[in-house]
Point group: none
Amino acid sequence: MPKIVDHDQYRKELLTKCFDLFANKGYASVTMRQIAQEIGVSTGTLYHYFPSKQALFWQLYDEFNERDTASMNAVLNNIHTLQERITAIFDYIAQNEDYFFKQFLITSDFYQQQDRTEILANETLKRNYELNRDFVAKALETDDPAVVNFAMCLATGIMVVRLFEGNVVEYDEQAQLFHKMLTLYLQDVSLHESDELPVS
Amino acid sequence: MPKIVDHDQYRKELLTKCFDLFANKGYASVTMRQIAQEIGVSTGTLYHYFPSKQALFWQLYDEFNERDTASMNAVLNNIHTLQERITAIFDYIAQNEDYFFKQFLITSDFYQQQDRTEILANETLKRNYELNRDFVAKALETDDPAVVNFAMCLATGIMVVRLFEGNVVEYDEQAQLFHKMLTLYLQDVSLHESDELPVS
Amino acid sequence: MPKIVDHDQYRKELLTKCFDLFANKGYASVTMRQIAQEIGVSTGTLYHYFPSKQALFWQLYDEFNERDTASMNAVLNNIHTLQERITAIFDYIAQNEDYFFKQFLITSDFYQQQDRTEILANETLKRNYELNRDFVAKALETDDPAVVNFAMCLATGIMVVRLFEGNVVEYDEQAQLFHKMLTLYLQDVSLHESDELPVS
Amino acid sequence: MPKIVDHDQYRKELLTKCFDLFANKGYASVTMRQIAQEIGVSTGTLYHYFPSKQALFWQLYDEFNERDTASMNAVLNNIHTLQERITAIFDYIAQNEDYFFKQFLITSDFYQQQDRTEILANETLKRNYELNRDFVAKALETDDPAVVNFAMCLATGIMVVRLFEGNVVEYDEQAQLFHKMLTLYLQDVSLHESDELPVS
DNA sequence: TATGAATGAGAATTCATTCAT
DNA sequence: TATGAATGAATTCTCATTCAT
């Protein structure tokens, strides 16, 4: 294989390299020349791999949404108690916070590139959300969708609040509080469940 | 004497009129011409009231942060049970969801205009957060900061998830769940408090 | 005469006040707002007295060209020797150098506002030059136009060189040199004149 | 490989092409669009070679100051009498008068782009003046700085007066007059020198 | 007279994109 | 493939001028 470079592989490498740029400055404020410079190619080359700035951005968006799921699933291996699993999730977010910030900002930007209905129809986004949901469901060992959503919203909320307000909230504190509440809630539910079950 | 205009008053009216535009398209994608057209003045007039696009954007940001606080406090009048108060807050968000979406997107944009340390040092932003915090604290009748943060993150999270994913979560469902958990938690705490802190 | 203000008098006062501004920044770089601010009126008032920026500039130009002649003639009163008269002229320029710099820059600017033929046809400018010429002729007590021109070019040249290069030339040094040369030259001429006169 | 262009060479060609434009209309009155049109490129290309209008103007100024020096030195080759050398210089100016007018107007404009102290500190300008001085010193075969300055101011003055007043002065007439005066002066000086400085 | 708000054409500059090499 | 020179429409912002008060 003398001079064969995997076009697609290289394309993904280029994407990786401009992730930060978009996250830090926003779609509209980043120029193709800046991108080219940042990743060390000419604008011509950039256009050789991506037909347009929009396309580049969307590929970036898709690419990163896809990656997360894999790494996330490794987190819960060999962890058995609920408390540990909740802690593991929140720790995972805490340790990759900077990455989540960036991904979040890129998503916000992505959002403003098209109108709302298109966004909500976006397949990658939907699938990504479902994967996250399943992951959380598995972690919490519940399939009550309300509880899963609750956890996801809480985690998202903490991240967002920290992004905009700084360290006014802490992951571990909230993780413990959530564990406590959840435990009490699940106990309470199972208590009433035994009452109600015969009826349903 | 010149044409009689209350300069400051008119400035605020103009701000109001371009709120949606920024929310829908984002700072960098909106042009001053578009703004001028949208609010029905010439670009010259726009610059008569705002020295630059940045300045206009920041004034917009400040102006709306100021307004929110005022309107929010009216919500909790004459509501007495915890359940009702929680419901009131979530209802309030639900009913003004569109506004919150916009304000949130504008904040995201605002974020990308400056570097992180400047953001976190921003006084308006900080004050705004504290006001919201106090509001929630009052609503929940607790001054446990962890609980207040918990509620704020949850509410923020629901809003953000709905913004990006659509109606995958519902406010009232989450409100009820939260109320349930919180009640159980507070009971539990008061139970242990009497055990552990007989002195205080 | 209760509220009668001499319109024309006021107009001239306004002109005086913006002389420096034009000299320092050049016609095109000065805005009507700047002028208005500098002289302490509103733009509306400015337009009340001058129909346009061009008109203002031309009136300014005319006004100052006119003024000079008057003041200049006072200089030579009661001075009798050639040396003293030459010294007086150069001193006069030296002491008003800043003013001449400004007037010169304004003239340069004026020049670029219209094409060359219009400039050379300008009556004010022509008359002004002739007045200067007569003044110098009277000072040198010669009516040899070549000599008069020589003196005028020299004086102009010194001023211009100093404007662009700083103090690389000094007025008094050049005045003395000029006096010396002129004296020798006039002696020489009168010597040959007596030879030639009978012929002509 | 991109389109092959000697960037620097091409840049200088572009400069040459916009010399007249600046000379005729002045810095502030010429627009980048006009320049681009005049020299046959797009505005984008113009900005590809010059970062800003100011930069373009300054490079223009430097470039032409550099060129002059070179061409000027060819003038005095193989000319031996003082009279001939003086005539040569004045002829040179006369024949390139149009060019000097333009260069002079550009310098005037350059002047109004920055404040006086910066101008006087400008290295190119200073060096240029010194080169001219040396050139004149060599032509007049004197190193008396007063005489050199005298000649330079006279030449500058003639040019400026002709620029603003038209053909009221003639180069050759003034050249002859100057030659006559200078000869008489130098004779006189050498006469007294032998009296006063027998030692040296 | 005097004010300054309003206008909109036009300025400098940027930038996604194309294309000759 | 890869380069970067070239393009020109679009952007932010300015400013002479007008006009209601």
